[in-house]
Amino acid sequence: MTDSASCSITRLEGGCRVQDLGRFGVRHLGLGQGGGFDHLSLRVANALLGNAHTAPALEITLGQVALTFSASTTVALTGADIGARLDHVPVSPGGCFVVEVGQTLMFDTPVQGLRSYLAVAGGFKVTPELGSVTALAREPLGGLHGEGGELTVGDALLYAPGFPSLRTQPDTTRWSFDEALVLDVVVGLQAATFSGRSLFDAFNRPWCVGTRADSMGVRLEGPRLESRCASLISEGLTPGVIQVPPDGAPIVLGPDCQSIGGYPKFGAVTPYSLARLGQCCPGDTLHLRPVGIGLARARWAQWLGHLDGVESHGDSARM
């Protein structure tokens, strides 16, 4: 066993980023928060292995990635089902498994969902910068080598092999892809500047996830929403906020959103709904639902309780 085992990227055609829960305390300097979009699946992957909840893991968007491991270790895979295969043997997401030395973990295109999270026991050894390994496209910091930038074929992520028990993900922490998707929205901000018709439409008409969807924001297509303020003086933003540019199509801000902006906003999706949005592909349909702050807090607390339960759940051998 060695402390300098490495996981090498041998194919990269989708997206692959090293991620944690984001960077905090520096937004006033113009930095974005970043971090994994489906932060709940990322937390589950680390919890399955008993890792620190901030341990760096891989966020794989749209699959099409292959990884080889220089030493055997236990890993956990959560989030989207992207047709994972370990040396051609299918592996379903939602639990831990052992990768043997020299084996290749391959990801095809998503079957369900969009983003998958791969954690290794102990976490990948990546040095955080300003408190996080996240690397936003417009920022010169974070990532595998520091100074920002994306992962490329040939990059190797270090890890110290470990073999915690092979846990499975409790159903309470799995996304349902079969039911109609509803995102909870805490109404606020400049909601009063929107026409009554627009607010009615926002919460009663279906929305289609647009093709302009990435970690900065997800544009929703549907009825045109109108605010009597076409633009505002720029003010602080946070992931989850729903802003409406003059074209009337709302954008749910993702983790990589800018720190300030000037479009009118009528609320923010809750943390658990934002995580779920990270699994939506262009063309998916969803509804927005207004929730009271009390109910939203209760649902979020319930989620955090489910996460606490992951570490004690089902120590069964899978695969």
């Binding site: 520096v26 006033h28 300097l29 930095l31 300003l130 003086i233 906020v241 800018q258 809750t270």
Partner: protein, 238 residues
């Protein structure tokens, strides 16, 4: 101070404090005093405080302070800020090589303002600017207010890449691009000073509330200060 202030809810753990409804350099000191007071009030329950032109976004740790507690702290900080707002922030002087090779809109602005290029430069450097907010990218400071004569709306089609150090004008605002980024500001020169560096204490050269002066430098000085004089694509070559 608290009379006309609105507090808007942003999701589960943020509140947006709207202190003013118009941009005014005189508001900057009140906003910065408020931020300082609120940091004292909330201590480690603050995750992020993001000041902007007229607002402060308060991101709090709801495991350490609940929303009613944070709202009370905001009210106390507003009262204290109204009493003690005084000139704050540091003053920075930024060297800038103003030249059409690295400032493709220098002549465009001169034509529109019916001024010579030298007069445009003079108008830009003759003022001190307040930093209203940092945003868009690390260390990108939105500053104002620019002389109306040289104010210019953003380009109708933003550039895919604006070189690091580019000094721009958008409306009555001015800014320096800390790194190469996409952008639609009118570029008039280039600054060799590094504005964002994670190895520097505080990470950014300036913060919201600081004051910035620009000082014209020649090409040789620009190079001596470590500037990169690679011309803009499509800019005039001498």
């Amino acid at each position: 101070m608290t009379a006309n202030v609105e507090i808007e809810r942003v999701g589960l753990d943020c509140l947006l404090v709207r202190l003013f409804d118009q941009i005014d350099t005189r508001h900057v000191d009140v906003i910065m005093a408020f931020c300082e007071q609120l940091r004292d009030e909330l201590a480690d329950a603050v995750i992020d405080l993001t000041p902007s032109y007229t607002t402060v976004l308060v991101h709090f740790d709801d495991a350490r302070a609940d929303e009613p507690h944070v709202r009370e702290a905001i009210k106390r900080a507003l009262e204290a800020a109204g009493q003690r707002a005084e000139a704050s922030g540091q003053v920075h002087e930024l060297p800038v090589w103003f030249d059409p090779r690295v400032g493709p809109e220098l002549e465009v602005i001169a034509d529109k303002a019916k001024l010579s290029v030298d007069e445009v430069i003079e108008r830009h450097v003759s003022r001190e600017y307040r930093v209203f907010a940092l945003g868009f990218a690390p260390g990108f400071g939105f500053m104002g207010a620019v002389d109306e004569a040289i104010a210019m709306p953003r380009l109708s089609t933003p550039r895919k890449r604006v070189a690091a150090g580019s000094v721009g004008i958008a409306g009555i605002q001015t800014a320096v691009y800390p790194t190469a980024l996409p952008g639609g500001w009118n570029i008039i020169g280039r600054c060799p000073t590094r504005l964002f560096d994670i190895k520097r204490e505080g990470y950014t050269l300036y913060r919201a509330g600081d004051t910035v002066r620009f000082k014209p430098i020649d090409h040789a000085t620009f190079l001596n200060l470590g500037g990169d004089d690679t011309p803009f694509e499509g800019a005039r070559h001498d």
